[in-house]
């Protein structure tokens, strides 16, 4: 009886999954290298590929979009094996040496500087639909349902993965994230305090608090990620995911309203690098 019921449930689940993917049933995904993250996504294999994902930030980050950009660079890095990336933006403040510091091969990145929102989305659709593109990153204010659906169709046609960084223009209104969105997932990314190794001055590897706010066919969640290989000249291993899960903050229905903070009191840390110390001694 129990076997019969679970069999029926599995069949229904498969049917729902088929409906959600529009009957195309491709389930390629990119694993985060951690089961607790991967199981939030449909199929349990990690970030679904050949879809587009929406990422944004809060407060000042909604304008500068630095943390989402860094996070996207790390998310998209494993996809570059399939082809070069295209970065479409209205502002030209992306600094490729910063991408290189995160291990992103910025030397092959194709940067596209568009004039307005409509051009950004049109260029993204064109790039997603082209063959041989590994990842498409587009900075745009918002994407309505129609435009989102077009992006999704282009993803399926070109078998590329898209990332939309929600970014409002300087001094512009609030980012108008439409109620409905055709994105496969929606993330909110914020920088998180880093933890340098004990006894070492300066900053630790960069960390981000990433909360998965919406996920088609999956569950939301919130995690703290770290990029252990950032800003070091060690050779990057291809198989390892560039993001490492740091601490389990919670794998629950809602993102924690009050993000957990490190318990340490706000004390002044020794500031200044080795150079400064040496100069002071001299």
């Amino acid at each position: 009886m129990a076997g019969f019921r679970s069999g029926r449930l599995d069949a229904v689940r498969a049917k729902i999954a088929a409906l959600e993917t529009g009957g195309r049933g491709d389930s390629e995904s990119l694993s985060f290298g951690d089961v607790s993250v991967d199981r939030c996504f449909p199929g349990g294999g990690g970030l679904p590929l050949h879809r587009w994902h929406e990422l944004g930030g809060e407060g000042m980050e909604a304008e500068t979009a630095a943390a989402p950009a860094a996070f996207v660079a790390l998310l998209a890095r494993p996809l570059l094996k399939m082809g070069p990336a295209v970065w479409i933006a209205r502002q030209d403040d992306l600094h490729p040496p910063g991408l290189a510091g995160l291990g992103f091969p910025a030397g092959g990145l194709i940067e596209v500087w568009v004039r307005d929102e409509a051009q950004a989305l049109a260029a993204a659709e064109d790039a997603l639909g082209a063959s041989g593109v590994g990842a498409v990153i587009v900075e745009a204010q918002a994407c309505d349902l129609t435009a989102g659906r077009r992006l999704q169709l282009a993803c399926e046609k070109g078998r590329a993965t898209g990332f939309l960084i929600a970014r409002r223009p300087f001094g512009g209104g609030a980012p108008g994230i439409a109620g409905g969105s055709a994105a496969a997932t929606r993330w909110s990314i914020a920088s998180a305090p880093s933890a340098p190794a004990p006894g070492r001055p300066g900053l630790g590897p960069p960390r981000w608090r990433a909360s998965l706010e919406r996920c088609r066919g999956g569950r939301p969640g919130a995690w703290l990620f770290e990029s252990p290989g950032a800003y070091s000249d060690t050779e990057i291993q291809d198989d390892a995911h560039p993001l490492r899960l740091v601490a389990e903050l919670g794998d629950r229905q809602l993102a924690p309203a009050q993000p957990a903070r490190p318990a340490s009191p706000p004390i002044r840390f020794p500031v200044g690098g080795e150079d400064a110390a040496r100069r002071r001694r001299a």
């Binding site: 950009a69 290189a100 030397g107 070091s232 840390f269 400064a276």
Partner: protein, 474 residues
């Protein structure tokens, strides 16, 4: 009418005025005294030059090698193509007929050398053909001014009673050179074909050129598109046969009224696939105004380079490394948005952050220079650093807090300084100053935001330190 040396003079005269005895260079007052009801207009050398350029472009229908000869002439190199019209005489007749239809009076001459043709056109009967190799006999009867020499030399020849080129040619060359300068000798030799003459063609001769003459003028968008496809296919077939590919194509629709309408497309990687190139042209054909109809189409390919034949199986392997597969995408974006809006960044060996990045065309070969990943650089670099109010109690230390865009950030961790000075070897040594030094710190605030800030100049007692925010690490 023009003003030269303080006097109003006639710059050019019409046919009727010439019949009345007026001539260019005559004083306006004299001319008006002869013909009181003379209609005059101000000379417009700019407009004339533009009209000449348009005429030169139109002449491409006869020969790809056309050189303007300002102010009012042009050279047409018809070497090896007169047979297409059935002989030089037929070509000249067609040329004159077409220009007459546009009400353009024309005189022309055909000869072995540009100099002789010029002399025949301006001083012959206006439609003379010089038989090959016999320009000497023809020119001997023309005045020395037909040699394109300067006014003073011409006047002096006249004074010495030398009224025919033949008389000049009989004089010893050494004396001619001494008396009239090298110019006369050079021009004489050029006219006779004994000295080379370089013509500045409006478009350098391009072997990758094709033209399609249409039986009937066309004007509908569908026809324009179809003709575009046809001519691209013809040129691409030639490119393919010779193993070449081009990176720039220019199509020109020549209208009945003689005005060419050009559309240009560029490609990131040389190509010769006709459907792909046609697809690049099609969205831009709406810029073409066919007017009363288009009677001829020309297509030229530029930046032609050897392109090895590609195999479908190899193409997929290349995609991982070379990115050849995405060349069509780059072309579409570059042609739609403008080539300067699509680029790939490359490293420049400079410590100044603004100069560390240069742009190159996508898919062009990558230079060996690399950014050092161990040097932390922000992911967003502001074009101009933003001033911040920072509190730094200890000189030469990063601030403990700073205010940026009205928001207070308490510094939790900091790293630095990384001192970046100006590139003193690029400027005169006197202009180098210690105030152009920047001490960069990477700081992290309580919320985790990572910033790249710097203090401008060295620490000076009494002077407040100036702090700037240059970028965000995210």
């Amino acid at each position: 009418m023009e003003t030269s040396r303080g006097t109003r003079r006639l710059a050019a005269v019409g046919r009727a005025a010439a019949a009345l005895g007026l001539f260019p260079g005559q004083k306006a007052a004299d001319a008006l005294a002869y013909v009181p009801d003379l209609v005059t207009a101000e000379a417009e050398p700019e407009a004339d030059a533009q009209a000449l350029r348009a005429l030169v472009d139109w002449c491409v229908r006869f020969s790809p090698a056309v050189a303007p000869d300002p102010p009012d002439g042009l050279f047409l190199d018809i070497t090896g193509l007169a047979h297409l019209w059935g002989g030089e005489a037929a070509l000249v007749a067609d040329f004159r007929r077409r220009l007459a239809r546009n009400d353009l009076p024309v005189v022309c001459g055909v000869a072995d050398t540009p100099g002789a043709a010029w002399a025949l056109a301006r001083h012959g009967d206006g439609a003379s053909l010089c038989p090959p190799g016999r320009q000497g006999e023809v020119l001997d009867h023309l005045p020395p001014s037909a040699l394109r020499i300067s006014e003073p030399a011409c006047a002096q020849l006249e004074r010495l009673g030398l009224r025919r080129i033949g008389e000049v040619r009989r004089l010893p060359r050494s004396q001619l050179a001494r008396r009239f300068g090298l110019e006369l000798i050079t021009r004489l030799d050029q006219a006779m074909g004994e000295a080379p003459e370089a013509l500045a063609f409006r478009r350098p001769a391009n072997p990758w050129f094709d033209r399609l003459a249409l039986a009937e003028p066309i004007s509908t968008p569908e026809d324009l598109a179809r003709v575009c496809g046809d001519i691209v296919e013809r040129l691409c077939a030639r490119l393919s046969a010779e193993g070449q590919g081009a990176r720039r194509f220019e199509i020109a629709y020549h209208r009945v009224d003689g005005r060419p309408q050009t559309v240009e497309v560029g490609l990131a990687v040389g190509a010769r696939e006709a459907p792909r190139i046609t697809r690049l042209f099609l969205p831009r054909l709406d810029q073409v105004d066919p007017g009363f109809g288009v009677e001829q189409v020309t297509l030229a390919a530029f930046e032609v380079e050897a392109l090895s034949a590609s195999q479908a199986a190899l193409a997929s392997e290349q995609a991982a490394g070379g990115g050849i597969e995405i060349a069509p995408l780059v072309d579409r974006l570059a042609n739609r948005l403008g080539a300067e809006r699509v680029w790939t960044s490359q490293a420049v060996e400079s410590h100044v952050p603004e100069r560390a990045v240069a742009r190159r065309a996508p898919l062009s070969p990558e230079p060996p220079a690399r950014w050092d990943p161990a040097q932390p650089r922000p992911i967003r670099l502001f074009r101009r650093p933003e001033p911040i109010e920072a509190t730094a109690p200890v000189p030469d230390d990063p601030p403990v807090q700073f205010r940026w865009r009205g928001q207070l950030h308490r510094v939790r961790l900091a790293e630095g300084p990384e001192r970046i000075a100006e590139e003193w070897w690029k400027a005169p040594i006197g202009a180098v100053s210690a105030t152009h030094v920047r001490d960069y710190y990477r700081v992290e605030d309580q919320a985790g935001g990572r910033f790249w800030i710097f203090r401008a100049g060295l620490y000076e007692a009494g002077a407040p330190a100036r702090w700037w925010l240059h970028g965000l690490f995210g």
